[in-house]
Amino acid sequence: MSVSDEQLMLAYGAGDAAAFETLYGRHKGPLFGFVVRSVKTRGEAEEIFQDVWMRAIEARERYQPAAKFTTWLYTIAHHRLIDHWRVKGLAVVPLDTGDDDEGPALDPAAGPDADPHEIAVAVQTRDRFAAALAALPLAQREAFLLHAEGGLTVPEIAAATATNEEAAKSRLRYAMKKLREAIEDE
């Protein structure tokens, strides 16, 4: 049975550096995905991503497992993003789809023997989904990303974004409705 995130963080606070490496390996991908889809450029995402982890490192001795580690970590990320959005004037930022030179990535569901037409349709669907995600209002997009990337439940989203559960639930529901409409509108 694997050690929980909370135990790892407590161990790290007690001086176990290896515990942090395990934690980092578990959460770096989802957290980076959450951040990179919340800001405009990859450079900004890397800066915010590093700040979030630095804050977690600095708070290692003060960490108390009152909530899930992911809730705590994404709360830090939320605060850092709020600071970023304030600097940017709370503008709705489009999704950074990465380097345009690379062209559209292959759909993971499409194997090498897939029908080119199916591949094209999948790519179009994915692009529409990405565009719809980028077009979501900040609060709704954040709620969806916390759910999709961090695996946070509605109460945990409410806790991480410092709002009540009704608001968090409403944001998540509206976000999923708009995304669903985007991929079903064919």
Binding site: Y24, A45, Q50, D107, R126, A148, M176
Partner: protein, 279 residues
């Protein structure tokens, strides 16, 4: 969460995944291995600033308090008994520049008139320094008559008992003019005692040395007397004495008048008054 939501999440995970660059991973992991950086207490900076300010203020006050001592000459001149000795004898830096004309003034040893502290009508600025006990000078009846009875009489007598030798405040000039001559014989201390006091004052070390020797039991009286020698009022009076010595009585009168206007509460020591007034 229903199947439609799961389908939506699956669609999301099909989006190209982003990962932090390896250099960023290395940087974060390296930072995680550094020891905990203790946050500086919030009160540390304000406390440090306040402490520095308090120390600086204390230093400034100390320097200002010791500044008059620094201007004193290395060897104070012999003090006159029963008077504010440094005012008459110890030259300031300004006076030292004119020592060629000051010399006769210092040698001039007028008979000290009685101390007429009791006649001071407004003694609010009188200073009493607890040093150099001097034979108590009896108060001449003439003084009593010359001075109007005030509410400070009892207080002045008490102060006279405590520290008569250092009584810096001299009688008012108006009172002195009419009463000094009659009071002088009665108040003059014995010659032997005057000599003793003069000798003590003359051998007093300079301020810097006196501070160093204070722990060795050197009397504090000469040091305090030397300290008072540098007051601006006494310097002005010395200048007037110099004018008298040079025969510039008109200038001396004008300077004395200006002094009286500038320092209405300052009581000129009887011995000094004898020097500065027109004869």
């Amino acid at each position: 969460m229903n199947e439609r939501d799961d389908e939506l999440l699956r669609r999301y995970r099909e989006l190209p995944r982003e990962a932090p660059p390896p250099s960023l991973d290395a940087s974060i992991l390296a930072a995680s291995r550094r020891p905990v950086r203790r946050p500086v207490a919030r009160w540390a900076a304000p406390f440090s600033v306040a402490a520095v300010l308090v120390l600086a203020l204390g230093l400034v006050l100390k320097v200002q308090r010791e500044a008059p001592e620094a201007t004193l000459p290395a060897a104070p001149q012999p003090a006159m008994p029963g008077t504010n000795a440094p005012a008459a004898a110890a030259p300031s830096i300004d006076a030292a520049k004119e020592k060629d004309v000051q010399a006769p003034v210092v040698q001039e040893q007028p008979v000290a008139p009685p101390r007429k502290v009791e006649k001071r009508p407004a003694p609010s600025r009188e200073r009493v320094a607890p040093f150099a006990p001097e034979p108590r000078a009896p108060v001449a009846p003439a003084d009593e008559r010359a001075a109007p009875a005030t509410q400070t009489q009892t207080h002045d007598v008490t102060r006279h008992d405590v520290a008569p030798a250092d009584e810096r405040a001299a009688p008012a000039a108006d009172a002195l003019a009419g009463s000094n001559a009659a009071a002088a014989p009665a108040a003059q201390p014995p010659a032997a005692q005057r000599n003793a006091i003069t000798t003590t004052t003359a051998t007093a070390p300079p301020p810097a040395e006196s501070r160093a020797q204070s722990s060795a039991g050197v009397a504090a009286a000469p040091r305090a007397a030397a300290k008072e020698a540098a007051t601006p009022e006494q310097r002005e009076l010395e200048r007037i004495v110099l004018l008298r010595a040079q025969g510039k009585d008109d200038e001396a009168d004008a300077a004395l008048e200006a002094f009286r206007r500038a320092h209405p509460d300052y009581r000129i020591e009887p011995a000094m008054w004898e020097k500065v007034r027109r004869h």
